[in-house]
């Protein structure tokens, strides 16, 4: 029995009272996945990322969402937000809070949305990410059931962030989940959507999520993916964005946890004036492996993309960055900027970085660059001559490296959480709280 086939055995655990078309889609995903099988290192897109740990794993689907408040509080962020919570992929009404959604906004678990509005949702879901994108999206289509559906009406400005938490429990046996996220941002709407993947210590589950974000004309969406899975968790995600005229999408892809993490981020800029911004930061240590594959398709003239990815790698961690920009033949006067910088804190850490530009138009402004280096030893020395010990000096400089991306984060809770996580991963003590306090005092003065 192939690894793919073993995974599909779980199909039988899905509800048998699904509408025919849902079951048909499931079958299509299963057929596609079985035909493709798990990717291997011979596949160009998976050259540096070995998924055998997933393929050879044994995972079951969770059927409960039990997680008490205290355990949840240890994972979630204290955000004033519209909150939707999933535990090992299963919706938890108890932990969710959707009490004061503004008019024109709906935030629902996928199963509810399908029941009440299956035409609109069923038509949209899978439109950007079908079975062909990768074996994992095919697997997701085969086994997905639950997820988050966010719909924002025309012209609606959603003040509070929409906060979707995917909690991964420390289970007795490993679980897998295949969630979907669907965000439909109406014309001229404004919203912030957070996907937060948080794992309990010792969790060793497999999450395979597919997100689709559709921006109509003039919509503005800030999208955060904060991945703080446990050091045993396996995580594969693909995020697909489609942008209409004059829309603006900003992505923060922040990866701090996980044993094996792969994220694909794909944007189609389909009409003039559309702008996409990719901000990425990852910090890995031990034997963690993080792979980010990003793609921007400039399908229309006068579209803009700006990408800045930073990686910090310690110990024997490995990172992969592959950033691709494709400018179609008639997409004149586009601007595409890409930058990837990596910091290796250990000489056994490794990063494979590959920027790719495919430009078929002639009137464009494009640039890309990739750098990999160590901390500036001159700067370490300069700080130490001021009495700052070596660990602290290295910590300050590492945070400073992350700072360029973190400065763009508009939600202070997230910025602070990531800063603390980065600081906490640095060797020995690091009194960040103290430094934050000074900065605050300065703001007040």
């Amino acid at each position: 029995m192939s690894a793919a086939h073993a995974f599909l055995q779980r199909l039988g655990e899905r509800a048998d009272d699904e509408p025919t078309w849902v079951a048909a889609r499931r079958q299509a995903g299963a057929a596609r996945f079985e035909a493709l099988g798990f990717p291997t290192k011979r596949d160009e897109a998976w050259k540096y990322t070995d998924v055998r740990r997933i393929a050879e794993g044994e995972f079951t689907l969770a059927d409960d969402a039990e997680l008490d408040e205290a355990r949840f509080a240890a994972l979630g962020m204290p955000l004033d937000a519209h909150r939707l919570v999933f535990v090992d992929g299963v919706f938890s009404a108890a932990l969710s809070d959707l009490t004061d959604l503004p008019d024109g906004v709906s935030v629902e678990p996928l199963t509810t949305a399908m029941r009440t509005n299956h035409e609109a949702i069923g038509g949209a879901i899978g439109r950007l990410a079908g079975v062909d994108f990768s074996p994992f999206t095919a697997l997701n289509v085969a086994l997905s059931e639950e997820g988050a559906v966010v719909r924002i009406g025309q012209g609606v400005v959603v003040e509070k962030p929409i906060y979707v938490v995917f909690a991964s429990r420390a289970n007795e046996s490993a679980r897998m989940s295949h969630p979907r996220v669907l965000v439909m941002a109406g014309a001229r709407s404004q919203s912030t959507v957070i996907e937060h993947y948080a794992g309990e210590a010792g969790a060793a589950n497999f999450t395979n999520v597919v997100s689709e974000v559709m921006l109509e004309r003039g919509a503005i969406v800030d999208h955060y993916k904060l991945q703080e899975a446990s050091s045993e968790d396996l995580h594969v995600a693909s995020i697909h964005i489609e942008q209409g005229r004059d829309s603006r999408f900003t992505s923060f892809n922040l990866n701090l946890g996980g044993a094996l993490v792969r994220t694909d981020l794909v944007t189609d800029l389909n009409a003039q004036g559309a702008e996409t911004n990719y901000n990425g930061l990852f910090f890995v240590q031990g034997r963690q492996h993080v792979d980010n594959h990003t793609l921007v398709n400039h399908n229309a003239p006068n579209t803009f993309s700006n990408e800045n990815y930073k990686g910090i790698l310690n110990d024997r961690a490995r990172g992969v960055f592959n950033g691709k920009v494709i400018v179609k033949r008639d997409s004149q006067q586009i601007e595409a900027y890409q930058n990837n910088a990596n910091l290796l804190l250990s000489d056994r850490a490794e990063i494979d970085t590959k920027p790719e530009l495919e430009i078929y138009a002639d009137d464009v402004k494009c640039s890309h660059g990739a750098t990999t280096g160590q901390l500036d030893e001159e700067a370490v020395f300069a700080l130490r001559t001021r009495g700052i010990d070596e660990q602290m000096a290295r910590g300050l400089l590492t945070l400073a490296f992350a700072g360029e991306v973190m400065d763009q984060v508009r939600l202070p809770v997230i910025a602070e959480r990531v800063e603390r996580a980065v600081a906490g991963k640095l060797p020995e003590r690091f009194n960040l709280a103290d430094l934050v306090e000074v900065s605050d005092a300065l703001e007040e003065a």
Binding site: F381, R384, T385, R386, G387, A400, F401, N431
Partner: protein, 250 residues
């Protein structure tokens, strides 16, 4: 306070300091002068603990303790501060973070509480205005995009906040226009007191018009070949280094 005894230092296999002797007492201001390549900057780099300098013989004592056995940050915490000739730009690290972290490192080393934020801000703002620096300096990354003069002022600002026992200034006057020179010199002069020593490395006599030294040393080919009072600096300005070289060769 500082005793350098028969110090021999090699850099990448070649000997730069060849038996340097120097004693600096509390309250004194010393100027170390000499032609290019004499080893002036090497001395301050070795005292600060920079990598790549091998001490082959001799010793350096600071308040009686063997400096060469101390870590870089321990030297700073003991009260030695080096003002760099070319201050390093540290993108992303705000001046305010550096100052606070450095000041607290000192206090913790002395067994004191960390400084409360309001008290710290008051202290920093006073010194900032003394150095004629704008408050926005604090939120800027250390030396990033600073002009030459701003960088040097920033070095002195750090000294004013950290109040070292021994301030070493490596060509602090290089790249300064006359107005910046005055501000920097005022900053340094304000540091002078009976308990503190200042060691300045400089090419030019010009700085010494603003900061009058107690002792002037001429460093040639890795050794101090002549010492005197402030008049020696004037003589060097008027006659150059040739006569000292001839005198020492004789």
């Amino acid at each position: 306070m500082l005793e350098v005894k028969d110090l021999h230092v090699t850099v990448e296999g070649s000997e730069i300091l060849k038996g340097l002797n120097l004693t600096v007492n509390p309250g004194e201001v010393h100027a170390l002068m000499g032609p290019n390549g004499a080893g002036k900057s090497t001395l301050s780099a070795v005292i600060a603990g920079k990598d790549g300098y091998e001490v082959t013989s001799g010793e350096i004592l600071f308040e009686g303790k063997n400096l060469l056995e101390m870590e870089i940050e321990e030297r700073a915490l003991a009260g030695i501060l080096l003002g760099f000739q070319y201050p390093v730009e540290i993108p992303g690290v705000k001046n305010i973070y550096l100052l606070k972290a450095a000041l607290n490192a000192q206090r913790v080393a002395r067994g004191e509480e960390e400084i409360p934020a309001p008290e710290f801000m008051k202290l920093v703002r006073e010194q900032l205005s003394f150095m004629k620096m704008d408050g926005s300096f604090l939120q800027r990354a250390v030396n990033e995009g600073f002009s030459g003069g701003e960088k040097k002022r920033n070095e002195i600002l750090q000294m004013l906040v950290l109040q070292p026992k021994l301030a070493m200034l490596d060509e602090i006057d290089s790249g300064l226009d006359i107005d910046a020179m005055k501000v920097v010199a005022e900053g340094i002069n304000s540091l002078r007191n009976a308990d503190r020593a200042i060691l300045m490395v400089t090419h030019y006599q010009r700085l010494l018009e603003h900061i009058v030294p107690d002792r002037v040393h001429v460093l040639v080919d890795g050794r101090i070949v002549k010492s005197g009072d402030k008049d020696l600096a004037n003589e060097l300005e008027a006659r150059g280094y040739e006569w000292v070289l001839e005198e020492s060769a004789a």
